[in-house]
């Protein structure tokens, strides 16, 4: 049985006990899938998990709290489920987690870069997977791209490709791409120097349209309806179009995710203007990992919700 069929059987088996199973189905264009809410076997027809399964279905779980639901997850999505459960934002026993080995997902922006000059991604009429490659039907003919060249950055540093906390796991577990996330991207980025980075953020954030897709796509941004970004009391942000306020929102998002972010990258993927907002969260994750050895998503108590009287890893300034 193929992975697809195995997943479908797992979903079918789960359906009697859950109100729906969240997975992926056909999207509006060949390069994009859409989250799929499977409520009955009829909905299963369009289901597919694989290279296009970009969206993190854990996003929907807090809003479905109160009834048992199923969710099909990649390894990174499973980390979000784990973190939500660790923070009691969902009840783990209310979620039926179906895992499968994930070998990476597409980054449409990388496809756009590969096709630059020839056509836009929106002109791709069909996509077909062929082993380690994809074949794209474009107005300029068939284009073959290696999956590794158009796979999301996060997949290149994936240490958890197999949903560790799955209730049902189908397929053979695959080897992690790396065993440790070295945060080399953040180190390289920081090496650009303070002045350049300040200018970088000013330039990037000036594209921001304040749509809050980054926030609403974040599975751990659970207070989005009462977000401080919209609050008038206290008035953290103006509604203006200035770069400073837009950047400050990203700071709010990053700070609120410190010790919680699993690095699923949905914030950055959701940004219609391609602003690399994950960097700020990763900078904090790196620090959390270094100080407390904590990787969000494993189910342990988040490090900022606890403390040690003596903190062996914190080297305070002695003011001598």
């Amino acid at each position: 049985m193929s992975i697809q069929d195995e997943l479908k059987s797992a979903i079918t088996a789960a359906l009697p006990d859950v109100s729906c199973v969240v997975g992926w189905g056909a999207g509006p264009e060949p390069l994009r899938a859409a989250p799929l809410f499977i409520r009955g076997e009829a909905d299963l027809e369009g289901f597919s998990a694989g290279f296009l399964s970009v969206n993190n279905p854990a996003l929907y779980l807090p809003s479905l709290k109160g009834s048992k639901v199923g969710v099909v997850v990649k390894g990174c999505d499973a980390r979000s489920v784990g973190q939500l459960a660790a923070e009691t934002l969902i009840k783990r026993e209310e979620v039926h987690v179906i895992g499968y080995p994930c070998r990476g997902v597409i980054d449409v922006d990388k496809v756009a870069a590969k096709l630059a000059g020839a056509c836009e991604t929106g002109e791709v009429a069909a996509l077909r997977e062929d082993g380690d490659d994809v074949l794209l039907n474009t107005p300029k003919g068939e284009v073959r791209l290696a999956k590794k060249d158009i796979t999301a950055d996060k997949c290149g540093r994936c240490a958890f490709p197999n949903a560790g906390n799955a209730d049902v796991f189908v397929g053979e577990r695959c080897a992690p791409v790396v065993t440790e996330d070295g945060y080399a991207d953040i180190a390289d980025f920081e090496a650009r120097g303070l002045d350049e980075l300040k200018a970088f953020w000013e330039q990037e954030m000036s594209r921001c349209i304040r749509c809050y897709a980054c926030r609403n796509a974040c599975p751990l941004c659970v207070c989005r309806d009462q977000c401080v970004a919209m609050s008038r009391e206290p008035h953290w942000l103006s509604q203006g179009d200035g770069v400073r306020d837009k950047l400050f929102f990203q700071i709010i998002h990053a700070v609120h995710l410190s010790g919680r972010c699993t690095g699923c990258g949905e914030c950055e993927r959701a940004c219609p203007l391609g602003i690399p907002v994950l960097k700020l969260k990763r900078a904090l994750s790196r620090r959390v990992e270094k100080l407390f050895g904590y990787k969000a998503g494993g189910g342990d108590t988040p490090p900022l919700l606890t403390f040690l009287v003596e903190e062996p890893t914190i080297k305070e300034r002695d003011w001598k």
Binding site: P139, N216, G240
Partner: protein, 356 residues
């Protein structure tokens, strides 16, 4: 053909110089590639306009800024009564002239959805939005016709086309290493005055390009039943819950949309001074309709998506002679982080209503 109807031509080589000269007189906005996005930026000499890849955002912010000062206020010391403060209101200064060069046809048509509303149709013309109107009147729009359709394009469903002249002052069609310019307004005539007339060969190439672009669009779906269908489904919670299940109710669709015109008004103050600001608002946000009492007429994302689609394909047409407030640019589909497809919702609604 009268003199002002002569089509002009500008070669791609001559374009940067032409735009640089225009930028001396007006703010000129052109699409520019930045990272993975294409956004409208004010043109500076030496810039390259991106006229190939279609802009991620619409150009509506040139006429309808994301954040616009309506007026400022200050509490100034009263010279006559020491210790007292006097309120001073100062209206925002007049905007200057602007040019958008390389807008999409759907972007230009988007303003046609704004126009009647901002011209005071709701109040019988007694309250016109002076801020919008003056910018609208001072913004010249040069449309760059699309060469082909994207998967998400559906301008032909709602009365548009890749080279529709609606809303444009100048319509530019790519041909022979340059642009053939169809001049559609007096301002367009003045703007292109320095340019030579297009040759027969250039005109023929442009006509062929338009034909090819139009042919690249799949046949338009019939959405004429949408207004009645959406009205009929207003109370169908099941339908809207299903259509909105994967929506994450951010504002990407509304803020990228050339026709979404809703706004918020907030005071942003700092001590004794401040501004009343008009900023883009988003009907997908629960705060849009949340009342001070805590009551919200649209508490669920299903209610809000219903309003968004209903506004474009039912309420607006009922108020504005059947015109949809959707220009079919497809940005809401293309940039939706959760792949919500407004075409599917409208078609599903038509189908569902027919079954009821």
């Amino acid at each position: 053909m009268s003199a002002e109807n002569v089509k002009k031509f500008i070669s791609f080589d001559a374009l940067p110089g032409f735009l640089a000269r225009a930028a001396e007189k007006n703010a000129v906005y052109v699409p520019r590639r930045e990272g993975n996005a294409v956004v409208y930026r004010s043109f500076k000499a030496g810039d390259e306009a991106e006229l190939g890849v279609r802009p991620t955002e619409s150009c509506k912010h040139v006429v309808f800024p994301r954040g616009e000062e309506l007026f400022s206020f200050a509490r100034e010391a009263d010279k006559e009564e020491p210790g007292k403060r006097r309120l001073v209101l100062t209206e925002a200064s007049e905007p200057g002239a602007a040019v958008v060069f390389g807008a999409l046809s759907c972007d230009a048509r988007g303003f046609l959805a704004f126009d009647p509303v901002y011209n005071g149709s709701g109040t019988g013309g007694t309250a016109k939005d002076s801020y919008y109107l003056r910018r609208r009147n001072r913004t010249l729009i040069v449309v760059k016709a699309c060469k082909n359709a994207l998967n998400t394009c559906f301008c032909n469903w709602v009365g548009g086309g890749p080279a529709s002249p609606q809303g444009a002052d100048v319509l530019a069609v790519e041909a022979e290493q340059g642009l053939v310019l169809d001049i559609l307004s007096g301002e367009g005539t003045a703007f292109t005055e320095s340019l030579p007339a297009a040759s027969e060969a250039q005109l023929a190439a442009a006509a062929a390009a338009v034909k090819a672009a139009e042919d690249s669009l799949p046949k338009a779906a019939d959405v004429s039943a949408a207004p009645a269908s959406l009205a009929a489904l207003f109370s169908s919670a099941e339908f809207w819950n299903k259509e909105s299940a994967h929506c994450l109710y951010c504002g990407a669709c509304t803020y990228l949309c050339p026709t979404c015109y809703c706004f918020n008004i907030t005071d942003e103050s700092d001590g004794l001074t401040g501004v009343r600001l008009r900023s883009w608002d988003n009907c997908m946000s629960p705060l849009f309709t949340l009342e001070a009492s805590g009551h919200n007429p649209r508490p669920n994302k299903a209610d809000r998506l219903k309003n968004r689609v209903g506004h474009k394909f039912s309420y607006y047409p009922s108020l504005h002679s059947g015109r949809f407030s959707c220009c079919g640019c497809g940005r809401c589909i293309k940039s939706c982080p959760s792949s919500v497809d407004i075409r599917k919702i409208v078609l599903d609604a038509v189908k569902e209503a027919a079954n009821v």
